[in-house]
Symmetry: C2
Subunit: 236 residues, 2 copies
Amino acid sequence: MQTTYGKLFLIPNFLSDDNTSDFIPEYVRKEIHHLKNFIVETEKDARALIKKLNIATPQNELHIFLWNEHSDKKNVAELLKALQNGEDAGIITDAGLPCVADPGSDVVALAHQKNIDVIPLPGASSIFMALMASGFNGQSFVFHGYIPIEKPLRVKKIKQISLDAVSKKQSQIFMETPYRNNQLMEDILSTCDNEMKLCVAANISSAKQFIKTKTIKQWKSEKPDIHKQPAIFILG
Amino acid sequence: MQTTYGKLFLIPNFLSDDNTSDFIPEYVRKEIHHLKNFIVETEKDARALIKKLNIATPQNELHIFLWNEHSDKKNVAELLKALQNGEDAGIITDAGLPCVADPGSDVVALAHQKNIDVIPLPGASSIFMALMASGFNGQSFVFHGYIPIEKPLRVKKIKQISLDAVSKKQSQIFMETPYRNNQLMEDILSTCDNEMKLCVAANISSAKQFIKTKTIKQWKSEKPDIHKQPAIFILG
Protein backbone atom coordinates (compact mmCIF):
# COMPACT_ATOMS: atom_id res chain seq x y z
CA MET A 1 0.00 0.00 0.00
CA GLN A 2 1.27 3.45 -0.89
CA THR A 3 1.74 5.91 1.97
CA THR A 4 -0.33 9.07 1.62
CA TYR A 5 2.12 11.93 1.20
CA GLY A 6 2.32 14.71 3.76
CA LYS A 7 1.37 18.28 2.88
CA LEU A 8 3.70 21.24 2.56
CA PHE A 9 2.23 24.30 4.34
CA LEU A 10 3.40 27.81 3.43
CA ILE A 11 3.32 29.76 6.69
CA PRO A 12 3.01 33.57 6.86
CA ASN A 13 5.20 35.42 9.35
CA PHE A 14 4.66 38.77 11.07
CA LEU A 15 5.66 41.92 9.17
CA SER A 16 6.98 43.97 12.07
CA ASP A 17 8.34 43.36 15.57
CA ASP A 18 5.50 45.35 17.07
CA ASN A 19 2.69 43.34 15.41
CA THR A 20 0.43 41.89 18.08
CA SER A 21 0.03 38.13 18.24
CA ASP A 22 -3.47 38.31 16.65
CA PHE A 23 -1.98 39.76 13.44
CA ILE A 24 -1.73 36.11 12.27
CA PRO A 25 -5.18 34.49 11.81
CA GLU A 26 -6.09 31.84 14.39
CA TYR A 27 -6.92 29.65 11.38
CA VAL A 28 -3.19 29.46 10.56
CA ARG A 29 -2.35 28.35 14.13
CA LYS A 30 -4.93 25.55 13.93
CA GLU A 31 -3.74 24.30 10.54
CA ILE A 32 -0.10 23.99 11.58
CA HIS A 33 -0.47 23.10 15.26
CA HIS A 34 0.64 19.50 14.63
CA LEU A 35 3.75 20.21 12.53
CA LYS A 36 7.17 18.83 13.49
CA ASN A 37 9.10 19.51 10.26
CA PHE A 38 10.03 23.01 9.17
CA ILE A 39 12.24 24.34 6.43
CA VAL A 40 13.41 27.78 7.43
CA GLU A 41 15.49 30.74 6.28
CA THR A 42 17.27 31.32 9.62
CA GLU A 43 16.89 29.03 12.60
CA LYS A 44 16.69 31.69 15.32
CA ASP A 45 13.91 33.70 13.64
CA ALA A 46 12.02 30.53 12.75
CA ARG A 47 12.13 29.21 16.33
CA ALA A 48 10.81 32.58 17.57
CA LEU A 49 7.89 32.36 15.11
CA ILE A 50 7.19 28.72 15.97
CA LYS A 51 6.92 29.76 19.63
CA LYS A 52 4.49 32.60 18.79
CA LEU A 53 2.37 30.22 16.70
CA ASN A 54 1.90 27.81 19.64
CA ILE A 55 3.04 24.71 17.73
CA ALA A 56 2.28 21.61 19.83
CA THR A 57 5.71 19.99 19.22
CA PRO A 58 8.28 20.82 21.95
CA GLN A 59 11.20 22.87 20.57
CA ASN A 60 13.71 20.06 21.16
CA GLU A 61 11.63 17.61 19.09
CA LEU A 62 11.32 19.87 16.04
CA HIS A 63 13.07 18.95 12.82
CA ILE A 64 14.45 22.19 11.47
CA PHE A 65 15.94 22.13 7.95
CA LEU A 66 17.89 25.21 6.87
CA TRP A 67 17.23 26.66 3.44
CA ASN A 68 19.13 29.76 2.38
CA GLU A 69 22.03 30.66 0.05
CA HIS A 70 24.59 29.06 2.41
CA SER A 71 22.75 25.88 3.39
CA ASP A 72 23.36 22.33 2.27
CA LYS A 73 21.14 21.07 -0.59
CA LYS A 74 20.68 17.75 1.21
CA ASN A 75 18.45 19.49 3.79
CA VAL A 76 15.72 19.84 1.19
CA ALA A 77 16.13 16.19 0.16
CA GLU A 78 15.55 15.15 3.80
CA LEU A 79 12.50 17.38 4.04
CA LEU A 80 11.02 15.89 0.87
CA LYS A 81 11.69 12.40 2.23
CA ALA A 82 9.73 13.24 5.41
CA LEU A 83 6.85 14.51 3.23
CA GLN A 84 6.92 11.36 1.09
CA ASN A 85 6.82 9.31 4.30
CA GLY A 86 3.50 10.96 5.10
CA GLU A 87 4.67 13.67 7.50
CA ASP A 88 3.40 17.24 7.03
CA ALA A 89 5.91 20.11 6.90
CA GLY A 90 5.97 23.90 6.80
CA ILE A 91 8.04 26.63 5.15
CA ILE A 92 8.81 29.72 7.23
CA THR A 93 10.65 32.86 6.16
CA ASP A 94 11.95 35.72 8.30
CA ALA A 95 9.06 38.10 7.51
CA GLY A 96 5.88 38.12 5.46
CA LEU A 97 5.07 35.34 3.02
CA PRO A 98 7.38 32.49 1.99
CA CYS A 99 8.30 32.52 -1.72
CA VAL A 100 7.19 36.12 -2.33
CA ALA A 101 10.33 38.32 -2.40
CA ASP A 102 11.66 35.67 0.01
CA PRO A 103 13.19 32.18 -0.31
CA GLY A 104 11.11 29.04 -0.65
CA SER A 105 9.89 28.84 -4.23
CA ASP A 106 12.52 26.29 -5.25
CA VAL A 107 11.39 23.99 -2.41
CA VAL A 108 7.78 24.38 -3.56
CA ALA A 109 8.80 23.63 -7.16
CA LEU A 110 10.41 20.36 -6.00
CA ALA A 111 7.26 19.48 -4.04
CA HIS A 112 5.13 19.90 -7.20
CA GLN A 113 7.53 17.64 -9.11
CA LYS A 114 7.08 14.93 -6.45
CA ASN A 115 3.29 15.42 -6.50
CA ILE A 116 3.21 16.67 -2.89
CA ASP A 117 0.26 18.95 -2.05
CA VAL A 118 1.19 22.55 -1.34
CA ILE A 119 -1.09 24.48 1.03
CA PRO A 120 -0.67 28.29 1.10
CA LEU A 121 -1.96 29.84 4.34
CA PRO A 122 -3.55 33.31 4.56
CA GLY A 123 -1.26 36.10 5.63
CA ALA A 124 -0.22 39.65 4.94
CA SER A 125 2.38 40.78 2.44
CA SER A 126 3.95 44.23 2.70
CA ILE A 127 3.98 44.37 -1.12
CA PHE A 128 0.21 43.95 -1.33
CA MET A 129 -0.51 46.18 1.65
CA ALA A 130 1.53 48.91 -0.04
CA LEU A 131 -0.27 48.38 -3.36
CA MET A 132 -3.72 48.48 -1.70
CA ALA A 133 -2.88 51.67 0.14
CA SER A 134 -1.18 53.43 -2.78
CA GLY A 135 -4.36 54.36 -4.62
CA PHE A 136 -2.75 53.03 -7.82
CA ASN A 137 -4.12 50.54 -10.33
CA GLY A 138 -4.49 47.13 -8.65
CA GLN A 139 -5.83 45.47 -11.83
CA SER A 140 -2.40 45.49 -13.48
CA PHE A 141 0.95 45.67 -11.72
CA VAL A 142 4.56 44.48 -11.76
CA PHE A 143 6.84 43.64 -8.87
CA HIS A 144 10.50 44.17 -9.82
CA GLY A 145 12.07 43.10 -6.52
CA TYR A 146 15.31 44.92 -5.71
CA ILE A 147 16.34 47.75 -7.98
CA PRO A 148 19.93 47.60 -9.40
CA ILE A 149 22.59 49.24 -7.18
CA GLU A 150 24.97 50.52 -9.85
CA LYS A 151 24.06 54.11 -10.73
CA PRO A 152 23.71 53.94 -14.57
CA LEU A 153 21.72 50.68 -14.43
CA ARG A 154 19.59 52.01 -11.60
CA VAL A 155 18.72 55.26 -13.38
CA LYS A 156 17.96 53.34 -16.59
CA LYS A 157 15.66 50.96 -14.67
CA ILE A 158 13.81 53.80 -12.90
CA LYS A 159 13.37 55.60 -16.24
CA GLN A 160 12.01 52.43 -17.90
CA ILE A 161 9.68 51.71 -14.97
CA SER A 162 8.26 55.25 -15.00
CA LEU A 163 7.61 55.06 -18.75
CA ASP A 164 5.87 51.66 -18.33
CA ALA A 165 3.73 53.01 -15.50
CA VAL A 166 2.23 55.54 -17.91
CA SER A 167 2.22 53.68 -21.25
CA LYS A 168 0.98 50.35 -19.83
CA LYS A 169 -1.15 51.88 -17.02
CA GLN A 170 0.61 49.35 -14.80
CA SER A 171 1.62 50.02 -11.18
CA GLN A 172 5.38 49.49 -10.80
CA ILE A 173 6.43 48.09 -7.41
CA PHE A 174 10.05 47.85 -6.26
CA MET A 175 12.27 47.96 -3.21
CA GLU A 176 15.79 48.53 -1.95
CA THR A 177 17.94 47.38 0.95
CA PRO A 178 16.71 49.70 3.74
CA TYR A 179 20.03 51.50 4.35
CA ARG A 180 20.00 52.68 0.71
CA ASN A 181 16.38 53.93 0.76
CA ASN A 182 17.19 57.65 1.01
CA GLN A 183 19.62 57.31 -1.91
CA LEU A 184 16.94 55.51 -3.96
CA MET A 185 14.48 58.29 -3.13
CA GLU A 186 16.99 60.87 -4.46
CA ASP A 187 17.48 58.84 -7.64
CA ILE A 188 13.73 58.54 -8.22
CA LEU A 189 13.22 62.29 -7.67
CA SER A 190 16.01 63.23 -10.07
CA THR A 191 14.93 60.71 -12.76
CA CYS A 192 11.12 60.92 -12.96
CA ASP A 193 8.92 63.67 -14.33
CA ASN A 194 7.46 66.14 -11.84
CA GLU A 195 3.87 65.05 -12.58
CA MET A 196 4.57 61.34 -11.99
CA LYS A 197 3.06 59.88 -8.81
CA LEU A 198 5.11 57.93 -6.28
CA CYS A 199 3.87 55.99 -3.27
CA VAL A 200 6.31 55.47 -0.41
CA ALA A 201 5.11 52.84 2.08
CA ALA A 202 7.49 52.41 5.03
CA ASN A 203 7.24 50.36 8.24
CA ILE A 204 3.99 48.82 7.06
CA SER A 205 1.73 47.61 9.90
CA SER A 206 4.10 48.92 12.59
CA ALA A 207 3.41 51.85 14.91
CA LYS A 208 5.73 53.96 12.70
CA GLN A 209 3.77 53.17 9.52
CA PHE A 210 4.17 55.87 6.86
CA ILE A 211 2.22 55.56 3.59
CA LYS A 212 1.88 58.54 1.25
CA THR A 213 1.22 58.96 -2.45
CA LYS A 214 2.34 62.30 -3.91
CA THR A 215 3.67 63.71 -7.14
CA ILE A 216 7.44 63.80 -7.66
CA LYS A 217 7.18 67.60 -7.43
CA GLN A 218 5.49 67.37 -4.01
CA TRP A 219 8.02 64.81 -2.74
CA LYS A 220 10.88 67.14 -3.76
CA SER A 221 9.72 69.70 -1.21
CA GLU A 222 8.86 67.18 1.56
CA LYS A 223 11.45 64.42 1.53
CA PRO A 224 10.74 61.62 4.00
CA ASP A 225 13.60 60.18 6.07
CA ILE A 226 13.35 56.45 5.41
CA HIS A 227 16.98 55.55 6.11
CA LYS A 228 17.08 51.95 7.39
CA GLN A 229 13.24 51.78 7.40
CA PRO A 230 11.84 48.82 5.44
CA ALA A 231 9.92 50.35 2.54
CA ILE A 232 8.07 49.57 -0.67
CA PHE A 233 8.11 52.07 -3.56
CA ILE A 234 5.41 52.24 -6.24
CA LEU A 235 5.28 54.39 -9.36
CA GLY A 236 1.78 54.72 -10.80
CA MET B 1 -8.84 74.59 15.57
CA GLN B 2 -8.56 72.08 12.72
CA THR B 3 -10.41 68.79 13.18
CA THR B 4 -8.14 65.74 13.05
CA TYR B 5 -9.13 63.79 9.97
CA GLY B 6 -10.52 60.28 10.23
CA LYS B 7 -8.64 57.31 8.83
CA LEU B 8 -9.59 55.20 5.84
CA PHE B 9 -9.20 51.48 6.63
CA LEU B 10 -8.82 48.92 3.82
CA ILE B 11 -10.60 45.81 5.04
CA PRO B 12 -9.83 42.29 3.77
CA ASN B 13 -12.75 39.98 3.05
CA PHE B 14 -12.94 36.18 3.06
CA LEU B 15 -11.84 34.34 -0.10
CA SER B 16 -14.38 31.54 -0.06
CA ASP B 17 -17.82 30.86 1.41
CA ASP B 18 -16.43 27.96 3.41
CA ASN B 19 -13.63 29.95 5.11
CA THR B 20 -14.06 29.75 8.88
CA SER B 21 -14.53 32.97 10.81
CA ASP B 22 -10.91 32.86 12.11
CA PHE B 23 -9.58 33.15 8.55
CA ILE B 24 -9.62 36.94 9.19
CA PRO B 25 -7.11 37.98 11.90
CA GLU B 26 -8.64 39.10 15.21
CA TYR B 27 -6.40 42.17 14.84
CA VAL B 28 -8.57 43.31 11.91
CA ARG B 29 -11.75 42.97 14.01
CA LYS B 30 -10.27 45.12 16.78
CA GLU B 31 -9.05 47.84 14.42
CA ILE B 32 -12.43 48.32 12.74
CA HIS B 33 -14.78 47.49 15.62
CA HIS B 34 -15.79 51.16 16.00
CA LEU B 35 -16.49 51.95 12.32
CA LYS B 36 -19.85 53.40 11.19
CA ASN B 37 -18.94 54.46 7.63
CA PHE B 38 -18.28 51.96 4.89
CA ILE B 39 -17.79 52.31 1.17
CA VAL B 40 -18.71 49.03 -0.46
CA GLU B 41 -18.91 47.23 -3.80
CA THR B 42 -22.33 45.63 -3.19
CA GLU B 43 -24.47 46.37 -0.15
CA LYS B 44 -25.68 42.82 0.53
CA ASP B 45 -22.21 41.25 0.54
CA ALA B 46 -20.80 44.11 2.59
CA ARG B 47 -23.52 43.80 5.26
CA ALA B 48 -22.81 40.06 5.49
CA LEU B 49 -19.11 40.77 6.02
CA ILE B 50 -19.81 43.54 8.56
CA LYS B 51 -21.86 41.03 10.54
CA LYS B 52 -19.07 38.42 10.47
CA LEU B 53 -16.57 41.05 11.61
CA ASN B 54 -18.61 41.89 14.74
CA ILE B 55 -18.69 45.64 14.08
CA ALA B 56 -20.11 47.41 17.17
CA THR B 57 -22.43 49.71 15.19
CA PRO B 58 -25.97 48.28 14.77
CA GLN B 59 -26.80 47.53 11.11
CA ASN B 60 -29.49 50.24 10.97
CA GLU B 61 -27.01 52.92 12.12
CA LEU B 62 -24.35 52.11 9.52
CA HIS B 63 -23.61 54.59 6.76
CA ILE B 64 -23.14 52.50 3.64
CA PHE B 65 -21.85 54.28 0.53
CA LEU B 66 -21.99 52.34 -2.73
CA TRP B 67 -18.94 52.34 -4.99
CA ASN B 68 -19.06 50.37 -8.21
CA GLU B 69 -19.41 51.04 -11.95
CA HIS B 70 -23.12 51.96 -11.58
CA SER B 71 -23.02 54.06 -8.41
CA ASP B 72 -23.33 57.79 -7.99
CA LYS B 73 -20.04 59.72 -7.73
CA LYS B 74 -21.50 61.83 -4.94
CA ASN B 75 -21.32 58.83 -2.59
CA VAL B 76 -17.56 59.13 -2.48
CA ALA B 77 -17.80 62.88 -1.87
CA GLU B 78 -20.00 62.19 1.18
CA LEU B 79 -17.58 59.55 2.45
CA LEU B 80 -14.64 61.97 2.12
CA LYS B 81 -16.65 64.62 3.98
CA ALA B 82 -17.22 62.20 6.89
CA LEU B 83 -13.46 61.47 6.94
CA GLN B 84 -12.64 65.18 6.91
CA ASN B 85 -15.06 65.65 9.81
CA GLY B 86 -12.92 63.27 11.85
CA GLU B 87 -14.91 60.05 11.37
CA ASP B 88 -13.08 56.85 10.44
CA ALA B 89 -14.29 54.78 7.48
CA GLY B 90 -13.61 51.46 5.78
CA ILE B 91 -13.51 50.08 2.24
CA ILE B 92 -14.93 46.58 1.70
CA THR B 93 -14.99 44.55 -1.49
CA ASP B 94 -16.86 41.35 -2.26
CA ALA B 95 -13.84 39.05 -1.80
CA GLY B 96 -10.15 39.33 -0.93
CA LEU B 97 -8.42 42.69 -0.71
CA PRO B 98 -9.89 46.05 -1.70
CA CYS B 99 -8.05 47.76 -4.58
CA VAL B 100 -6.21 44.60 -5.73
CA ALA B 101 -8.04 43.24 -8.80
CA ASP B 102 -11.07 44.81 -7.12
CA PRO B 103 -12.57 48.32 -6.87
CA GLY B 104 -11.40 50.90 -4.37
CA SER B 105 -8.15 52.35 -5.65
CA ASP B 106 -9.80 55.51 -6.97
CA VAL B 107 -11.30 56.18 -3.52
CA VAL B 108 -7.86 55.67 -1.95
CA ALA B 109 -6.30 58.03 -4.53
CA LEU B 110 -8.81 60.74 -3.53
CA ALA B 111 -8.01 60.14 0.15
CA HIS B 112 -4.28 60.72 -0.53
CA GLN B 113 -5.12 63.97 -2.36
CA LYS B 114 -7.06 65.17 0.71
CA ASN B 115 -4.21 64.11 3.02
CA ILE B 116 -6.36 61.46 4.74
CA ASP B 117 -4.39 58.58 6.30
CA VAL B 118 -4.94 55.23 4.58
CA ILE B 119 -4.54 52.11 6.77
CA PRO B 120 -4.22 48.77 4.94
CA LEU B 121 -5.20 45.80 7.13
CA PRO B 122 -3.61 42.35 6.88
CA GLY B 123 -5.48 39.80 4.81
CA ALA B 124 -5.15 37.12 2.23
CA SER B 125 -5.16 37.59 -1.52
CA SER B 126 -5.85 34.69 -3.85
CA ILE B 127 -3.28 36.16 -6.27
CA PHE B 128 -0.49 35.97 -3.70
CA MET B 129 -1.59 32.62 -2.32
CA ALA B 130 -1.45 31.25 -5.86
CA LEU B 131 1.98 32.79 -6.47
CA MET B 132 3.38 31.41 -3.17
CA ALA B 133 2.06 27.96 -3.95
CA SER B 134 3.13 27.89 -7.61
CA GLY B 135 6.83 27.29 -6.98
CA PHE B 136 7.58 30.08 -9.47
CA ASN B 137 9.81 33.11 -9.03
CA GLY B 138 8.36 35.39 -6.34
CA GLN B 139 11.18 37.96 -6.69
CA SER B 140 9.82 39.23 -10.00
CA PHE B 141 6.25 38.92 -11.25
CA VAL B 142 3.48 40.62 -13.21
CA PHE B 143 -0.25 40.56 -12.63
CA HIS B 144 -2.16 41.13 -15.88
CA GLY B 145 -5.70 40.99 -14.48
CA TYR B 146 -8.26 39.57 -16.92
CA ILE B 147 -6.96 38.18 -20.19
CA PRO B 148 -8.61 39.54 -23.41
CA ILE B 149 -11.74 37.63 -24.51
CA GLU B 150 -11.42 38.01 -28.29
CA LYS B 151 -9.56 35.02 -29.70
CA PRO B 152 -6.76 36.70 -31.75
CA LEU B 153 -5.98 39.20 -28.95
CA ARG B 154 -6.12 36.46 -26.34
CA VAL B 155 -3.73 34.16 -28.21
CA LYS B 156 -1.37 37.08 -28.87
CA LYS B 157 -1.42 37.99 -25.15
CA ILE B 158 -0.78 34.40 -24.01
CA LYS B 159 2.09 34.12 -26.51
CA GLN B 160 3.63 37.40 -25.30
CA ILE B 161 3.21 36.41 -21.64
CA SER B 162 4.87 33.03 -22.18
CA LEU B 163 7.83 34.66 -23.95
CA ASP B 164 8.20 37.20 -21.11
CA ALA B 165 8.07 34.44 -18.49
CA VAL B 166 11.21 32.94 -20.01
CA SER B 167 13.14 35.98 -21.28
CA LYS B 168 12.49 38.15 -18.19
CA LYS B 169 12.41 35.24 -15.67
CA GLN B 170 9.22 36.87 -14.46
CA SER B 171 6.16 34.94 -13.20
CA GLN B 172 3.10 35.90 -15.27
CA ILE B 173 -0.17 35.92 -13.32
CA PHE B 174 -3.58 36.27 -14.94
CA MET B 175 -7.21 35.28 -14.60
CA GLU B 176 -10.49 34.87 -16.45
CA THR B 177 -14.18 35.05 -15.64
CA PRO B 178 -14.77 31.59 -14.08
CA TYR B 179 -17.24 30.33 -16.69
CA ARG B 180 -14.57 30.80 -19.39
CA ASN B 181 -11.78 29.01 -17.45
CA ASN B 182 -11.87 25.74 -19.40
CA GLN B 183 -11.73 27.69 -22.66
CA LEU B 184 -8.74 29.68 -21.36
CA MET B 185 -7.04 26.44 -20.36
CA GLU B 186 -7.49 25.14 -23.95
CA ASP B 187 -6.07 28.35 -25.37
CA ILE B 188 -3.03 28.20 -23.08
CA LEU B 189 -2.38 24.55 -23.97
CA SER B 190 -2.61 25.20 -27.71
CA THR B 191 -0.47 28.38 -27.57
CA CYS B 192 2.44 27.62 -25.22
CA ASP B 193 5.43 25.35 -25.73
CA ASN B 194 5.24 21.85 -24.26
CA GLU B 195 8.13 22.52 -21.81
CA MET B 196 6.56 25.70 -20.40
CA LYS B 197 5.28 25.40 -16.83
CA LEU B 198 1.76 26.45 -15.85
CA CYS B 199 0.28 26.70 -12.35
CA VAL B 200 -3.51 26.40 -12.04
CA ALA B 201 -4.77 27.49 -8.62
CA ALA B 202 -8.54 27.06 -8.23
CA ASN B 203 -10.88 27.48 -5.24
CA ILE B 204 -8.00 28.80 -3.14
CA SER B 205 -8.49 28.31 0.62
CA SER B 206 -11.76 26.41 0.12
CA ALA B 207 -12.33 22.71 0.79
CA LYS B 208 -12.16 22.17 -3.00
CA GLN B 209 -8.73 23.84 -3.31
CA PHE B 210 -6.76 22.63 -6.33
CA ILE B 211 -3.23 23.94 -6.90
CA LYS B 212 -0.88 22.20 -9.33
CA THR B 213 2.14 23.25 -11.34
CA LYS B 214 2.91 21.08 -14.36
CA THR B 215 4.38 21.40 -17.82
CA ILE B 216 2.03 22.19 -20.72
CA LYS B 217 2.73 18.66 -21.99
CA GLN B 218 1.61 17.13 -18.65
CA TRP B 219 -1.51 19.32 -18.51
CA LYS B 220 -2.48 18.18 -22.03
CA SER B 221 -2.91 14.63 -20.76
CA GLU B 222 -4.59 15.56 -17.43
CA LYS B 223 -6.92 18.49 -18.05
CA PRO B 224 -8.57 19.83 -14.89
CA ASP B 225 -12.26 20.75 -14.95
CA ILE B 226 -12.28 24.30 -13.62
CA HIS B 227 -15.51 25.47 -15.26
CA LYS B 228 -17.09 28.14 -13.04
CA GLN B 229 -14.37 27.61 -10.37
CA PRO B 230 -12.56 30.83 -9.40
CA ALA B 231 -8.98 30.35 -10.53
CA ILE B 232 -5.63 32.05 -10.92
CA PHE B 233 -3.26 31.06 -13.75
CA ILE B 234 0.51 31.54 -13.65
CA LEU B 235 3.07 30.91 -16.36
CA GLY B 236 6.62 30.62 -15.04
